[in-house]
């Protein structure tokens, strides 16, 4: 990145640490200085206690959410890539279907919740479907963009060497589109996390979102913040796993 002066490694590590400690110190000081009730703002120590002591509740709830999230995410990614390839090859299907996809894409997916609840109830299927729809679109968009960006010379070369359409797709088109597709998958991770939280907040039956929604209703503020910590850690960890996969799979770009 141009325009950024090189900082010493020491400061690169020290400054974020100092900032983190500052934030926690301010957070700890506010309830004491203003004499706030823990329901309004529990201190970091109280939240930290909940994170550990109630891990036997929070962790299984997180795993429950992770299961639905994983299934929805996997199907959404597969569907997005699959439909992307299909739409890339057939102009008539693309022209017929694309306007519908745009409308669904720009619609906040939360609106489908009442309908899905009516049709499928508050169980796992409903959550998987919400996660799936949210993951699907960025992957589809980026698959289409990636396939469109493949150099025609490469395709012509591969065709002239006698490669079939399938071989060209697997060996030339998809690898060339891979950086774009993986960028879409990374966007999909963020969307999938929004999806599972949204689904569980709106039908609080199981999972981490339901837990914090119900904790909020019983004014257990420390518990709510602890739940957010779990979601944040899981989201950030998942994102960086996919970031590492992306860097590995498209090593020629780096």
């Amino acid at each position: 990145m141009s325009g950024v002066r090189r900082d010493s490694l020491g400061r690169q590590i020290a400054d974020p640490l100092i900032f983190g400690i500052m934030v926690i110190a301010v957070w700890a000081a506010i309830p004491v200085i203003f004499d706030l009730h823990p329901v309004l703002l529990p201190g970091p120590a109280a939240v930290w206690n909940v994170v550990w002591e109630y891990s036997y509740v929070l962790l299984p709830a997180m795993l429950n959410s992770a299961g639905n999230l994983g299934i929805g995410f996997a199907v959404g990614v597969a569907g997005g890539i699959g439909l992307g390839v299909l739409l890339h090859y057939s102009a008539s299907i693309r022209e017929a279907v694309y306007p519908f996809l745009v409308v669904v894409f720009v619609t906040p997916k939360a609106v489908f919740v009442p309908l899905l609840l009516l049709w499928f109830g508050t169980g796992d299927l409903y959550k998987v479907l919400i996660v799936l729809t949210m993951t699907f679109f960025p992957v589809l968009e980026n698959t289409l963009a990636g396939l469109r960006g493949v150099q025609t010379e490469m395709i012509e070369l591969s065709r002239s060497l006698g490669a079939s359409h399938v071989t060209t797709l697997v060996k030339v088109r998809l690898p060339s589109a891979l950086p774009s597709i993986l960028a879409g998958v990374k966007l999909g991770v963020a969307e999938a996390f929004i999806g599972i939280v949204l689904a569980e907040l709106l039908a609080p039956r199981s999972g981490i979102g339901a837990l914090i929604m119900n904790a909020s209703r019983s004014s257990a503020t420390a518990f709510v913040i602890a739940g957010i910590v779990y979601i944040a850690v899981a989201g950030i960890a998942t994102y960086f796993i996919f970031d590492a996969i992306e860097k590995r799979a498209t090593f020629w770009q780096y």
Binding site: P108, P114, L115, F137, L198, G209, V224
Partner: protein
């Protein structure tokens, strides 16, 4: 960021589009034949299947029932859309302004740049919707919670995108400005800001959809107003046609927002897209 690009149509299709426009309305209709055909087929299937297969109203009301609900309650939907969008707008403006100012402050402070940057990138991934239960405790079930939730989503997106834009500027432009004896305020206004614009617009465009989502979810959880309550109400009363009508309204609203955002982006960063 390909997913936010509006030029999703394949270039040949767009050329065909332009050519069709020149040939008049009939040609446009013919050009859109695959889409219009599919739309007609879907609407007919939607109308006939519930009637012929004797599917209960609760599961899937026929299309005409939904259309009727929509057309006979236009004022109600306009009011609800207005309620939701006024909250989205307030949150959007607050979040964008605050995000932009924070980005500039972070940009000019070397400590904060080093200290905050890693957290921002991590925090971008955390769904802001997870803060809804906390905001409910802090701000209650009124408008404040919804505005804050919308603003939070915009804030982080704008903050990150503006910083990315400001850091992405080629050093040569800044050198050029300095060689013309521009002061830093002038460099900021005439070089840095325009250069950061495309990146910021991406953030605003994504952000407005997130803000709409967050407000609607908040409305579905607690509210007594807006589009969210129409959706929830229809479900509780087992009136699926009301739910479907509300979905249509939100889709149209989402489409309007998207088109408007794309238009603003084109206008403010026209030089960026010069083809």
């Amino acid at each position: 960021m390909a997913m936010t690009d509006t030029s999703v149509k394949a270039p040949p299709a767009r050329q065909a589009d332009l050519a069709a426009r020149r040939r008049g309305l009939l040609a446009v209709v013919i050009g859109k034949a695959p889409f219009l055909g599919l739309l007609a087929v879907l609407l007919i299937v939607w109308e006939l299947v519930p009637r012929l297969a004797d599917i209960h109203q609760i599961v899937l009301p026929p299309f005409s029932r939904v259309a009727n609900q929509l057309l006979s309650n236009i004022p109600m939907y306009v009011v609800a859309t207005g309620q939701t969008f006024s909250l989205v707008l307030v949150g959007f403006v607050a979040g964008a302004v605050f995000g932009f100012l924070s980005a500039v402050a972070i940009f000019y402070s070397s400590f904060f740049r080093r200290a905050v940057y890693p957290y921002l990138f991590a925090f971008r991934i955390v769904p802001k919707l997870a803060f809804l239960p906390l905001f409910l405790l802090w701000f209650g079930t009124g408008a404040t919670t919804k505005v804050v939730l919308a603003a939070t989503a915009i804030f982080f997106l704008v903050l990150v995108q503006v910083l990315l834009g400001l850091y992405g500027i080629d050093d040569e432009f800044i050198e050029f400005g300095r060689s013309l004896k521009m002061r830093e305020t002038e460099i900021f206004r005439r070089i840095r800001l325009p250069a950061a614009m495309p990146s910021m617009m991406v953030g605003l465009k994504m952000g407005v959809t997130y803000a709409l989502t967050n407000v609607i979810v908040a409305e579905m959880v607690v509210a007594h107003t807006g589009l969210g309550i129409l959706l929830v109400d229809g479900r509780y009363r087992m009136r699926t046609y009301e739910v479907l009508a509300a979905i249509v309204v939100v889709s149209l609203a989402g489409l309007a927002v998207y088109v408007a955002a794309a238009y603003v982006e084109r206008k403010t960063t026209s030089w960026h897209y010069s083809e």
